[in-house]
């Protein structure tokens, strides 16, 4: 009996490691290997061209704006869903998951329809000198859309778990709404928020499809890092493509590690 149980446990472990290796570790490892195939110098030169630097700058800028917006919206929306009762709550709850269900390309196209010259808002905005498509606002909108659910979905269960007694206790002690939120609710949900921010950041940094549609992919202007990688790849500039991919992966992993370090320091 024990022997066969050990065997089955080993088998399961082998399967899990093998599965992860085939699907995740080996592909990412290959990129790492290929990026430095011609040496660190070549890799460095490939991703420090002005075009590449602009693409990284744009990606980080868009991610910062989109994640900030989604954090504020996400926390507010989670509070609304958990702490209040209103008609249409189920509808909002379902709508928040739409970005998970819809392909990013479709999201890009829907923004195109709304903000294009013939779109509902596009004509009026253009007449008033605001260019949404093929510029920063459109790319930010697309990124907000695709990374919207993460913070809400991480914070809702935490709010359920902590309950509202601490908040009520704060109120009986004289705290108004804002004091209660800042001194009781926010510290209690901070790890939910932090995890949501990490996931949303990773998603925002890597967004390709929706941004590809709305950006117009103008080199050196509306080209984000993932778009740059795709173009370099298409032109057989493989060292640049691989290295840039690596940088993107590192940015996401870096966010995760920073959050972990912060958490450890506090505990």
């Amino acid at each position: 009996m024990p022997a066969s149980r050990t065997a089955s446990r080993l088998g399961l472990r082998f399967f899990a490691v093998g599965y992860l290796s085939m699907l995740l570790l080996i592909p990412v490892g290959m990129i790492f290997y290929r990026a430095f195939e011609h040496g660190a110098g070549a890799a460095w030169a490939a991703v420090t061209t002005p075009e590449a630097l602009h693409a990284f700058y744009l990606t980080i800028l868009i991610a910062a704006i989109a994640v900030s917006a989604n954090t504020i919206f996400g926390v507010g929306c989670a509070l609304l869903l958990v702490r209040t009762k209103f008609r249409g709550k189920a509808l909002i709850n379902a709508a928040i998951d739409l970005p998970f269900a819809i392909s990013p390309v479709v999201i890009g196209l829907s923004l195109y329809l709304l903000y294009g010259r013939e779109g509902w808002f596009g004509g009026w905005l253009l007449d008033n000198g605001i260019q949404v498509l093929f510029s920063l606002p459109g790319m930010v909108l697309a990124t907000i859309f695709v990374s919207l659910p993460f913070v809400v979905r991480e914070v809702v269960p935490v709010l359920h778990e902590i309950g509202d007694e601490q908040e009520q206790a704060a109120q009986t002690l004289g705290a108004n709404w804002w004091q209660t939120f800042r001194r009781i609710t926010l510290p209690a949900i901070r790890w939910g928020v932090a995890y949501g921010v990490v996931l949303a950041t990773a998603r925002a940094l890597g967004e390709f499809g929706a941004v590809a549609v709305v950006s117009g992919r103008v080199v050196g202007q509306t080209e984000t890092a993932p778009l740059w990688v795709w173009r370099e790849f298409g032109q057989f500039n493989l060292t640049g493509a691989y290295t840039a991919s690596l940088v993107l992966a590192m940015l996401a992993i870096g966010t995760l590690l920073a959050m972990n370090a912060f958490k450890r320091k506090e505990a």
């Binding site: 007694e165 601490q166 206790a169 704060a170 009986t172 002690l173 705290a175």
Partner: protein, 330 residues
Amino acid sequence: MGISVKGASKKFGDFVALEDISIEVPDGSLTALLGPSGSGKSTLLRVIAGLEQPDAGRIVISDRDTTDVPVQDRGVGFVFQHYAAFKHMTVKNNIAFGLSIRKRPRKEIDTRVRELLQLVHLDGFADRYPSQLSGGQRQRMALARALAVEPEVLLLDEPFGALDANVRKELRVWLRRLHEEVHVTTIFVTHDQEEAMDVAEQIVVMNEGRIEQTGAPRDLYDHPSTEFVMGFVGPVNRRGALFIRPHDLEILQVPAVEAEEAMIERIVHLGFEARVELLLADGEQLWAQMTLAEAELMELAAGQIVYARPRHAKVFEPSGASRTEELAAA
């Protein structure tokens, strides 16, 4: 002064939580709201605190109509069953919370917190986090936190409900002593009649959103005005229309007037007292309470045939009136 509730009603959907409730809580008193779960006692407490808004009725605290005053400005201290400790704050900061919201000077806060830590016997725990405290310690911290802002009334919602039986008894005694020390008007909610009798000066018995009876613990026990109070405050046997306290059930070894034949099913030894469980000829069960010494003197044992007779019993008329029958004297 004190607290008065005048005709408070509250519904949650179709569920009637409070139905035209009026109570007077004297200034400086310690009052218990006693009732089974769903009787409305917690809702009444939350309405007084301002955590729930009544559908109708007024709440008056210290001669001030506070019905429309938000919870922040009511001057109530509230203690929750599950402590509601601020988990990310130290004990010290938990207790200081209300004062720091009021922007009191640092020095004053420090002094007050030190006093309160002493009052609730938590000196030396100032820098711990709630997760490092036992349940009883957490609840004492919650009490200190509520008292820090010098509330006009202290409201406790099943404060010992989540604690072990031993800790619960200890804290009861402690709460009574604390009340003698700080003398703030206090209402506490409980479903445990023993706890209410032990701690409170006045008990309000609630059932299905209504008040059954209000009175001193002894009054409720000796002169219950409804069947519900008789059954809820203290143990009771029911025989037809008669309500008999177990210690009013006399056990005889020979037949007598008004005495019914019964078989002893079981004798439970509970330290000083014994609980004698009886089976009557018609299959109904009664139990009698006596001292262990009495039971031993009579050499009672399971399987024995004895004769049970109530010394006195209570009858509740459908009209709402009640009378006590002195049966043994008949």
